[in-house]
């Protein structure tokens, strides 16, 4: 497969969240605000790249029977590194993500790519694959969080936790009194993601039928 195809497949065609429905816990939990969703996406991207590269480097050394525990340890190592970096440099983000930062370890996307791709391919391809999948994850997180935050609060606020500003900037699209505030609460997360997945499924069915005709 060509490098460009390898990179682009994760964006939409094989998007880990929206098409393969992996890593749902974080996709639901941290998408209350665009900023924390973007921060989470960047951290997952870092872990994915690290784990994919290391797994593909050491794939010949790991006995087949114990490969999953080995991958989990490698992933946990990168999660610990990212967690410490986040605690030092982006403390507000660290606070807002809470336990979900540690839970990147059991995020199915990271383990899934290590098992399905990095354990069979060379270092460069694994790196490109991780980059593509990570960006695909960020795209999915942005789609979910933008629709949730705009409908739920009437606008998008920047400057709270990713790049802390003294006065957070709010991009108000409609007045907050018309907002459906339940969308930023847990039940709204399920509903919003359900509707987004249904829209994607409808669009892909229509495209497939269109190809047939």
């Amino acid at each position: 497969m060509k490098t460009k195809q390898n990179l682009l497949k994760g964006f939409f065609k094989e998007n880990p969240v929206l098409v393969h429905v992996l890593g749902m816990c974080s996709a639901l939990a941290v998408t209350k605000s665009v900023e924390s969703a973007l921060g989470m996406g960047l951290l997952v991207l870092m872990v994915l790249i690290g784990s994919n590269v290391v797994v593909s480097l050491v794939k010949k050394l790991i006995p087949n029977e114990v490969r999953i525990p080995c991958y989990i340890v490698i992933i946990a190592l990168f999660v610990t590194i990212v967690k410490l970096l986040c605690q030092v440099f982006l403390f507000n983000l660290y606070e807002s993500l809470g336990v979900f930062l540690s839970l990147i370890v059991v995020n199915c996307i990271v383990l899934g790519r290590a098992e399905a791709y990095a354990s069979k391919n060379n270092v460069f391809d694994s790196f490109i694959d991780a980059l593509g999948m990570g960006i695909g994850y960020i795209i999915a997180m942005l789609i979910i969080s933008i629709s949730r935050e705009i409908l739920g609060t009437g606008g998008i606020t920047f400057g709270l936790n990713l790049i802390p500003l003294d006065n957070p900037v709010t991009l108000q699209i409609f007045p907050p009194q018309f907002a459906l505030s339940f969308l930023v609460q847990p039940p709204g997360g399920f509903l919003c993601l359900g509707i987004i997945l249904a829209i994607i499924s409808a669009a892909s069915t229509r495209k497939r039928d269109g190809d047939k005709v």
Partner: protein
């Protein structure tokens, strides 16, 4: 007597229903969407989860309090806990396989999945903030019961959805998510009590 019972009940109800792990904290969504199509398998899965959760919590809490915290390496918690959980699932699977054929048949296939179930790691990570070993175990039990309750409730709803007429794009995961959303809306009502 009531001085002991009331706080215990309060902790159980809070962690099982009001602050439900699946619906309010989004932990363990993967088995929730993947497994819960049949009543039997969702009961098996939740029994396995509760079992592993209680044992791993009983092991990780002392590890954190007596080893990691005194040594000032609390940041290693994730790495340590996931190792404990992964080893424990493997170990329990072996023991059940050797001792009880019936239990292995009903729980066996769910055990390997548990190592990557975020509800276990999530609970264990939250537990290290608890003040005492007893509180930590109570919260674990409550969370496990809450998970089991939701899995069983949800699987019986999904069984009915299989036979009903759903718009085509909503088939499968989307309708499951929307059902979960409505369930979460109902459960969020407990928070106002």
């Amino acid at each position: 007597m009531s001085q002991i019972i009331v706080p215990v009940l309060l902790a159980l109800v809070t962690s099982a229903i009001i602050n439900n792990a699946v619906l309010m904290q989004f932990l363990g969504i993967c088995p929730f969407l993947g497994v819960s199509k049949k009543m039997d398998s969702s009961i098996g899965m939740s029994a396995a989860v509760v079992f592993i959760m209680i044992i791993s919590s009983a092991i990780t809490y002392p590890i954190y309090k007596f080893i990691l915290e005194p040594a000032n390496i609390g940041f290693m918690s994730t790495l340590t806990f996931i190792l404990v959980i992964a080893t424990l699932t493997q170990f329990v699977e072996l023991i059940i396989k050797k001792t009880s054929k019936g239990l292995y048949k009903s729980l066996g296939i769910y055990l390997p999945l548990i190592a990557t179930n975020c509800i276990i790691l999530g609970v264990v990570e939250e537990n290290i903030k608890a003040s005492s070993f007893g509180t930590a175990m109570l919260l674990t039990l409550g969370t496990g019961l809450g998970f089991a309750l939701i899995m069983i409730l949800f699987s019986s709803i999904i069984m009915h959805l299989e036979t009903s007429n759903i718009p085509k794009p909503f088939k499968g995961v989307p309708i499951a998510l929307i059902t979960a959303g409505l369930l979460a809306l109902a459960f969020s009502g407990f928070g106002y009590l």
